[in-house]
């Protein structure tokens, strides 16, 4: 009896227009977004927003994810409009701010990109996660001295910040710095640190990424960071296959994947010239 009643309820709920229709559309949008079905995601998020019954957090995520999806399609101006809508709801949304920086960068609007970057920096100067993002964004903006300054504050305690610092140092022609004080030789990302120091080969790194204790994301990082180091050294023929592999191995929506794609586009554009 209960099953019949519940099934009837489910059908009824889904057939009444306007009964939280936006929420179901939002979920469909998130699913499509996670599957990188950009057109479908945009369509669902648009429907969700048009339903007019979302709460502010849901409106925010619909705009944010639609902005991400537009960016994936190269429709940067539409993406910026969505990120701006997010910031109208939550002025300190670090996702929207950091993505709008990248969007302005894609449009070659460096002035606006830097302005957003300043907002991001002011948001919480002591927030280590925000500082890490800021360091990455500065790198993507080509502001290597600024990026290095940010990562150098974390490099002694955060292995990933150390890796980024070295990428900046190599690009700037500066020497590499000693590995982090808390550096634990038996833990990931030690093989990457060893690779950066010239003490391990790409094969060593790949082997460590496939060891019994390795996490899935290690396969991403094992391609991404060596590719970045090669690119910083202008060794593009070595970097390219690793970036391609990183695009395959890194989680969708991850910064590593997004940067790898950008780097591949740059390499292709250079080759075409």
């Amino acid at each position: 009896m209960k099953r019949t009643a519940l099934a009837a309820f489910l059908i009824a709920a889904s057939s009444i227009p306007g009964v939280c229709a936006g929420y179901d559309d939002l979920n469909s949008g998130i699913s499509a977004f996670n599957a990188e079905q950009n057109d479908s995601a945009i369509s669902w998020f648009t429907k969700a927003l048009e339903a007019g019954d979302l709460v502010p957090d849901q409106i925010r995520i619909a705009h944010l994810n639609r902005g991400f999806s537009y960016n994936r399609k190269g429709e940067t101006e539409k993406a910026i409009a969505d990120f701006t809508a997010v910031l109208a709801i939550k002025p300190h949304d670090k996702w929207a701010l950091s993505e709008r920086v990248l969007s302005y960068l894609a449009l070659q609007d460096k002035k606006k990109a830097v302005a957003d970057l300043a907002l991001l920096a002011a948001l919480n100067p002591n927030d280590p996660a925000a500082a890490y993002i800021l360091g990455c964004l500065n790198w993507e903006l080509g502001r290597h001295a600024e990026s290095a300054a940010i990562f150098s504050r974390q490099a002694n305690t955060n292995e990933y910040a150390w890796l980024w610092l070295q990428l900046n140092n190599v690009t700037l022609g500066e020497p590499m710095t000693p590995p982090p004080a808390r550096y634990q030789a038996d833990l990931w990302p030690n093989p990457l640190i060893a690779f950066f120091q010239g003490k391990a080969t790409q094969d060593d790194v790949m082997s460590a990424a496939q060891s019994p204790s390795a996490a899935q994301e290690h396969a991403c990082e094992a391609n991404f960071f060596p590719a970045m180091l090669h690119a910083a050294k202008n060794e593009m023929s070595l970097a390219e296959p690793l970036f391609s592999e990183a695009v395959q191995r890194c989680e969708s929506n991850s910064r590593e994947r997004s940067i790898s794609r950008q780097q591949l586009e740059k390499i292709t554009a250079k080759a075409e010239k």
Partner: protein, 300 residues
């Protein structure tokens, strides 16, 4: 995906209610705290917490065993790391071995002292840390996705009298609370009875290839598509499952990843139900009563 098996002993968090909140009549649902969710791009969500005076965003992770913080946060807060004899093992064989102690912690109106948290670097861009079963199992946890609210209620109420958000039918599933705090529930996937872990910290729902084979599915079955997150070590694919049924409440076309058997640590269950499916439900996790009350998320 944040999903752990406890492999050591830790001092548990001691969240308590603020003094102003007195226990009331047993049959009445008593809400201790209501906090707004912030939805992440992949559908998971964070809630605001305060740790040693700092306002932070913590991912709500019912599949976690003990709270975690990012290494960067631990460093920024000047928290000493300890490791002796305590470690956590997670999916894909990951191991966490260092933990920190947060002296003052609060979630909405709830406060706690000397909260232990493992240090985990895998969530750095998503959140500052995770809220796990060690804290949440002291309350009834009400996850209201359609209103983007997380509510914590007292466990002191009459059995079965918890579905306050709708007068429409609901499902009351028996749930087993594992020693590590994981929530195990029965469900039926395309006709096969399974036991699953509810994991709001998991971006995707997953089953092992071994379980898929019980459904007659392998990587050569029609309709299978490869997962981009396959690695040389862990294979994965998607299959278009038709139905997941929680004792009469049906979720159609659930997106589920099939992964190598070795990818998942021992959970004592067949499946992890992640946020993509959970977001479609309103979940009231009655830890005390060991029941899971569910309706469609939009029931009101």
């Amino acid at each position: 995906m944040i999903f752990w098996i406890l492999a050591g002993a830790l001092t548990l968090a001691s969240l308590t209610t603020a003094p102003a909140i007195a226990a009331e009549t047993a049959c009445r649902l008593e809400r201790y705290s209501a906090v707004p969710m912030t939805t992440l791009p992949d559908g998971r969500f964070t809630v605001p917490v305060t740790a040693n005076g700092r306002t932070l965003d913590f991912l709500v992770d019912t599949g976690g065993v003990i709270a975690t913080v990012t290494p960067a946060l631990a460093n920024a807060m000047g928290l000493d790391r300890h490791s002796k004899g305590k470690y956590l093992m997670g999916v894909a064989g990951t191991v966490l071995s260092q933990f920190v102690r947060i002296n003052d912690f609060s979630l909405g109106r709830l406060t706690g002292n000397r909260v232990d948290a493992f240090v985990d670097n895998r969530i750095s861009e998503l959140a500052d840390g995770t809220l796990s079963a060690d804290m949440m199992k002291r309350f009834d946890v009400d996850i209201d996705f359609s209103r983007s609210m997380l509510n914590l209620f007292s466990q002191d109420h009459c059995p079965g009298k918890v579905v306050y958000w709708t007068k429409e039918p609901h499902v009351a599933l028996p749930m087993q609370i594992a020693r590590n705090g994981h929530i195990h529930v029965p469900l039926v996937l395309d006709g096969l009875k399974l036991t699953a872990v509810l994991d709001t910290g998991a971006r995707e729902s997953v089953i092992s290839m071994k379980v898929a084979k019980r459904l007659g599915i392998d990587e050569k079955t029609d309709g299978v598509t490869a997962s981009s997150s396959s690695t040389a070590k862990y294979e994965a694919f998607y299959y278009p499952f038709k139905s997941m049924n929680f004792d009469g409440l049906e979720v159609r076309n659930p997106r589920i990843r099939v992964v190598s058997d070795e990818y998942l640590p021992y959970t004592g269950t067949d499946m992890i139900v992640g946020i993509g499916i959970l977001r479609r439900l309103h979940l009231y996790i009655a830890y005390g009563e060991e029941k899971l009350y569910i309706t469609p998320a939009t029931a009101n």
